[in-house]
Amino acid sequence: MHSSIEKYYGDNTVYYSLYYSAMDSFVLVETKNIFVAEQTAKVLSSKIALAVIILPLDEKNTVMHNSTVDQFGLTNQRYMSKMHIGLRKQTPIVTFLRHSKLIKRKLKFNADTNKNINDIKCYAKFCQKILHAINLSYLLHKHHFIEMEQQEYEKLFLRSTTKEILNPVEEIMNILYFANNEDEAINNISSLRKKYIDYANSKAVHQNYMRRDIMEFLTLFDTLANLKESNESRS
């Protein structure tokens, strides 16, 4: 454990990886945000139990990229007690490497296993992109979601337990968690988009302003998530 906050963040000294201990395989690299790394592992936990490993980013260590994750493994997991197969849970753990190193190695998997790993890697990249997009777009437009913001304050500061509306980040996480694949997730995100447009249209006053603000939020989300392009290419 490190006592310095800087040691945890992607400030050019560390980066993050999603690790599948059962097959000593890395699934994803996240360079920007530890919380998005954890959110991604969490939405993937309906399909795979992953660890978020904080890796050093310096000249002494080889650096892994999303295009090269196949080539890497760990020397062992033995001393990372939270990773122990007898103690592991489905929920993601976040950990530093302890007495273990990132190594280049080649594992021989059969075609089926390769496909399974590739499928989850593709879905992980998709989730990562969507989560970055929704976190940023919601943060920048949060003040438009009046009820949600009020509920957040009620829950945090008035300790109310009546929170009923999921905020957009939570809605997206719910979709990614339950979707079986990328297409299913995109369909459900489309439904969510409609829900937010309806939300704007339901306002009795300042409906136009609200519609404009919500559209700005959705446009930013679509742009960051690259979703319009993929929708168009699908149609």
Partner: protein, 412 residues
């Protein structure tokens, strides 16, 4: 106290300060090599092993066994498929529901073992039978298998919230608990998975030649191509303790003597770990989780041990090294189980990526104050043949332990 009393289950474990202190003091009193071997081993892994096979094996104290735990005779001609065995087991439950109107409570963790049982029941039950099924689970069960919960449990089957209800308050002769604790004994152990994941770190301390040889044959460890004795140095290393390499040698020799005389094929390295579970760890696995709980939950009349059947055990003895139990990596563990589940729920993620996790926590007792009076559960040493607990705090039990450990010799 009768020093010849027999034991159903015992547990040498330094679980709390008192038990750790007791076993440490006992080590200073025990002079026999056998007794010290047992105590040394218990520091590596709780010592609670009971031989079920015809293979040679000695224990420090007199052991007795319930009929249901005895190992069936190996039958090389047994051909029943895993699917047929599982469907038949579900039909047994359904028959009892229809004949006796019994209620069955399945402790569902979301893990592979209990999900297979639930899938088999749902596959074979008619709607009218569902009213006699309860799923004992909590949020951790949902987290471990959310698709199954959403598609097959939520709003379809009556659930009992495991975070609010204790098993001993629920189970009785009419409301039976379906336990699924023996699965790993059929398919192989967590010790193998740990070795597979940390293989290279366990090669430390071996000679260069030994390391090289074992590395070369490692990828055949789950096949019949290489006999487990080729991994002898690795196995000794695994069970050695610090400088006490002799501990690993003694354990290896004890296991080898048992395997060579058991009349069941044990060939690959994976088989070696499987046999360890299937033979000496089945009874501890069945009882250890409940050992520190209220004695009511280990009442045999209340428990339907799903996997403890002659058919499952014969299947287990006849399906080594053929891909039914494991391919190589942890995600392929219990593959026959996962294929059965997939036929029912079509969840490819669970089929391909699910692996063993610590998923029994929801049934473990959460608050020892609910046990009532008496010595703390961590001071329980054994259950005798009268279903009485033997406590480390009891002078007679202490004498029993020391006397038997002192008389125990290395006889293998």
């Amino acid at each position: 106290m009768n020093q010849d009393r027999k034991i159903y289950f015992y547990n040498i474990e330094s679980a709390d300060d008192h038990s750790a202190s007791f076993w440490k003091n006992t080590y200073g009193i025990v002079n026999s090599q056998g007794g010290r071997f047992v105590l040394d081993m218990s520091l590596k892994e709780s010592y609670r092993w009971i031989n079920r096979s015809a293979g040679k094996w000695s224990d420090p104290w007199p052991i007795t066994m319930l009929e249901k735990y005895k190992m069936p005779k190996y039958d090389p001609n047994f051909r029943k498929s895993f699917t047929d065995i599982t469907d038949d087991r579900a039909r047994e439950v359904i028959k009892e529901i229809r004949d006796q109107d019994s209620i069955f409570i399945l402790s569902w963790s979301g893990g592979i073992d209990s999900t297979l049982t639930l899938a088999a029941l749902l596959k074979n039950m008619q709607n009218k039978d569902l009213k006699n099924l309860r799923v004992y689970c909590d949020t951790s069960s949902f987290i471990e298998n959310p698709y199954f919960y959403k598609n097959h449990i939520e709003d379809k089957i009556e659930t009992i919230d495991a975070s609010k209800h204790r098993l001993e308050d629920i189970v009785d002769v009419k409301n039976k608990l379906i336990s699924t604790y023996q699965t790993e004994c059929l398919t192989g152990s967590v010790a193998w998975l740990d070795l597979q994941i940390n293989f290279y770190s366990y090669l430390k301390n071996l000679s260069y030649d030994s390391k090289r040889h074992i590395s070369n044959i490692w990828n055949k460890a789950t096949t019949a191509d290489v006999h487990f004795t080729q991994f002898k140095d690795l196995l000794i290393n695994l069970y050695s303790s610090g400088d006490n390499k002799n501990l690993g040698v003694l354990w290896y020799d004890k296991m080898l003597k048992n395997i060579n005389s058991c009349n069941v094929p044990v060939h690959s390295l994976y088989d070696y770990f499987w046999w360890n579970m299937f033979n000496i760890k089945l009874i501890p696995t069945s009882i250890k989780l409940l050992f520190k709980d209220n004695s009511k939950v280990i009442n045999e009349d209340f428990i339907f041990s799903w996997y403890l059947t002659e058919d499952y055990q014969k299947w287990s003895m006849n399906n080594n090294n053929n891909g039914e139990k494991i391919d190589f990596y942890a995600n392929s563990h219990k593959i026959a189980f996962k294929k059965y589940i997939f036929e029912f729920d079509r969840n490819k993620w669970y089929l391909n990526l699910k692996h063993r996790l610590a998923s029994m926590d929801h049934i473990r007792i959460k608050d020892k104050s609910t046990l009532g009076g008496g010595p703390p559960p961590d001071s329980r040493f054994a259950i005798d043949d009268g279903f009485r607990y033997m406590y480390l705090t009891d002078r007679h039990t202490q004498d029993f332990i020391i006397e038997h450990l002192n008389a125990y010799n290395i006889d293998w």
